[in-house]
């Protein structure tokens, strides 16, 4: 017995090699069921710490993949939410417009704003209604809050609307309380004003409406409120600066008022005057 132990100690490398090789061969020679039993026994005893560590690694890997999947899902949900919010806002606007259309005394044609003028001054917009919908040149265009502009060009399905912001635009307006009439102008695309006599009692906060005298806009439509009064170059007049009701930058819908210009009846006569040699 001592001899055997001494042999093992002296030739421990060879002995260990032999034992491990024999063990390996024994495991290989076993049937599948036997191998599975040995595997399970080893995993639950000797290799349990390693098994636990590797399972933690796979858990971490799963967490990473789950995190990635959840990020993608969150992004998709956020897009959905944004779309739904947009729909809800549009729904609210349209509900308001339906009510507006019913209460407004003129025949109006609702149209979506398709394109804004790319210039910073934002002088015009394109709306999605044209000749086929009965739109003609010089028809007034209003937004939900007030006057927006007038149609200057008509194509079969779209129209170009000149906004009040256009420096070339002139609109006849009236201060609601004093009934003072003036011409609304805009020189720089931001500041709107009309001239009033210095003795006219006009104050900040007074409402300005269309006068109906210009021939394009019907009277009584809201334009804005007086923001400030300042002296004009002409000492007989003051300038009443107006803050418009309509926010042109955020205009998404518009109404074309189906109203022919009041001066259209005289057009033929004017044209005939031109033809006279």
């Amino acid at each position: 017995m001592v001899w055997i132990i001494q042999f093992f100690v002296r030739h421990r490398t060879l002995t260990t090699l032999s034992i491990t090789v024999v063990l390996s061969l024994w495991m290989m020679s076993g049937s599948r069921e036997q191998q599975q039993r040995v595997s399970r026994a080893l995993l639950m005893t000797v290799f349990f710490p390693l098994n636990y560590t590797l399972s933690l690694t796979s858990t971490v890997r799963n967490i990473f993949s789950e995190n990635k999947r959840l990020r993608a899902e969150t992004a998709a949900q956020q897009v959905k939410i944004a779309l739904l919010e947009e729909k809800a806002a549009e729904n609210q606007r349209l509900r308001y417009l339906v009510g507006f259309e019913d209460n407004f005394p003129y025949d109006v044609l609702p149209a979506r704003v398709l394109m804004h003028d790319p210039s910073p001054a934002l002088r015009s917009v394109v709306i999605g209604a044209g000749r086929r919908q009965g739109v003609t040149v010089s028809m007034p265009v209003i937004a939900r809050n007030g006057v927006a502009g007038r149609v200057v060009q008509v194509l079969p399905t779209i129209s170009l609307v000149q906004l009040l912001r256009d420096p070339a635009s002139r609109t006849s307006v009236m201060e609601k309380k004093s009934r003072t009439v003036g011409i609304l102008e805009c020189a720089n695309g931001r500041d709107f004003f009309f001239r009033v006599r210095t003795h006219v009692p006009i104050a900040k906060g007074d409402t300005v409406i269309t006068s109906g005298l210009g021939g394009i806009y019907p009277g009584g439509i809201g334009v804005g409120t007086v923001e400030k009064i300042s002296a004009d170059a002409n000492p007989l007049f003051n300038r009443a600066f107006v803050s418009l009701f309509v926010d042109f930058d955020r205009m998404e819908e518009a109404f074309v008022v189906r109203l022919a210009p009041q001066w259209s009846a005289f057009r033929a006569e004017v044209d005939s005057l031109r033809l006279v040699p």
């Binding site: 260990t16 063990l23 390996s24 290989m28």
Partner: protein, 165 residues
Amino acid sequence: MMREVAVWILVFVLALALQGSVVPAVAIAGITPDVPLIALFFFAVRMGCLPGILAGFLLGLCQDLYSPSLLGQNAFACTLCGWFAGMFNDRVMRTDPLLKGVILAAAFFLRDILVGISSTAAGEGSLTATAGDLLFRTLPRSVYSLALVSCFFIWAMYFKPSRRK
């Protein structure tokens, strides 16, 4: 001594974890380096034959347990690889890095030959397939592994802060 053993155990666990997680992501044409075998090689070269045999057996057994291969197949191959690498123990003979690379490549071939033979013996393969695998899988894998080890050697020789001092 105990500290060194603990460090090596950690290295083996890390090598197995890397082989199962990160290494497949750096595969080139389906060829991956064999990180556990590299770790076993350096362990055996540093510690000798007996620790190499024991570490090889346990490491191979781990691989058998976590792969659908024949139980004992990798244990058998890695045991002999550990013994083979342990014969070039640093305490017995000093070998330069180039020779170490050749021995590592030989270890790769030895392991795959033993796995092929055991598969053939178990009726799950053939010697012809083993020969093909040696050419098309073992050779590229050993080259890839040697490239990785070379990078580590270059870093250790020239860029390691303690070396530069």
